[in-house]
């Protein structure tokens, strides 16, 4: 009885693996192609220091590109060193992890189109609001 439960679970897991691997592999290839196509210098030429436009653009950049949070910290750190404002960097870091246009097709296939669109749209807007609130809070604390 117990071995039957394990066998059934293994079969279900294998089925899930077969279904999801083409998407995951496609996703990785797409992200890599995108990251390699966008020159790093582009980031610093876009941000101008505008308090409204910068977080919006930061969220746009973070939404298109995606990946491990670690990469967003490193890119954010590099942008900070180049004089980009904190509000843009915060929006960039937040949307990097929470929004993903490149991975949207994969998310839609696995979690549903309506859910994925709603989640990405709301995450995009909250990344901008949260970025402004973070910088305002830091200003008050300082």
């Amino acid at each position: 009885m117990v071995s039957e439960i394990y066998r059934e679970s293994a079969l279900k897991t294998w089925s899930s693996f077969k279904q999801n691997m083409p998407i995951l592999l496609g996703m990785l290839l797409l992200i890599s192609l995108f990251i390699k196509s966008v020159p790093k210098s582009l980031y610093s030429s876009v941000f101008t220091g505008n308090l409204v436009l910068d977080p919006f653009l930061g969220a746009v950049f973070g939404s298109i590109t995606t990946g491990n949070p670690l990469n967003s910290y490193i890119i954010g750190g590099e942008l900070l060193a180049q004089g980009i404002g904190m509000v843009a960097i915060t929006a960039f870091i937040l949307s990097w992890v929470t929004v993903g246009l490149v991975q949207l097709p994969a998310e839609s296939l696995m979690l549903g189109k309506r859910f994925s669109l709603a989640r990405n749209l709301v995450s995009f807007l909250t990344a901008i609001i949260a970025a402004i609130l973070v910088v305002l809070t830091l200003g008050v604390l300082a």
């Binding site: 290839l29 696995m110 309506r114």
Partner: protein, 167 residues
């Protein structure tokens, strides 16, 4: 239905393959560089992939639809939110690695709002905090983490409403 689902997934893979072909026509070096980058990512995320499918295996054994509905379904209350948020914070690797597990849990009854909260909390990464502190300082790291957790609840509530409108 299953056949159709598999077909659309391979269609997606085919589109990616064609994108690479198109890119190769323009710049062969770019394609090789992207492929090398993919191999590097694959190498680093293999443990996460194994972890995710290991968790799916375990969840198939212990997480019955009845239990999921009880802990993370409708009426799961604060406990459901806390489980989803902690899961999001503790999970590692790229966000898309977790889609299969979440899709599986959703089929068993997990609420949309909790899936959204889980995904939003993926932005809070405890093991990576030293790097964030190194670049941006303690104050920024703490304030950002606080807002990320707060907005994961707001995000979950809104997405939950929007996603469940037609269901």
């Amino acid at each position: 239905m299953m056949k159709q689902k598999l077909l659309s997934k391979w269609t997606f893979f085919l589109i990616v393959f064609l994108s690479y072909l198109a890119a190769a026509l323009a710049d062969t070096n770019l394609v090789f560089s992207a492929l090398y980058y993919t191999l590097n990512i694959l190498w680093t995320i293999i443990p996460v992939i194994l972890l995710v499918f290991g968790l799916i295996f375990v969840s198939n054994i212990i997480l019955t639809p009845k239990r999921i509905v009880q802990h993370m379904g409708k009426g799961s209350g604060v406990k459901g939110w806390l489980i989803a948020m902690a899961g999001g914070i503790l999970s590692s690797g790229p966000i898309y690695m977790w889609y299969p597990l979440l899709a599986d849990l959703r089929e068993k009854g997990m609420k949309h709002s909790l899936i959204a909260a889980f995904l939003y909390n993926r932005a809070v990464k405890i093991p990576m905090m030293p790097l964030m502190i190194y670049y941006f300082g303690w104050a920024f790291t703490l304030v950002l983490s606080f807002y990320m957790i707060l907005f994961s609840i707001i995000n979950g509530l809104i997405v939950g409403k929007l996603a469940e409108v037609r269901e």
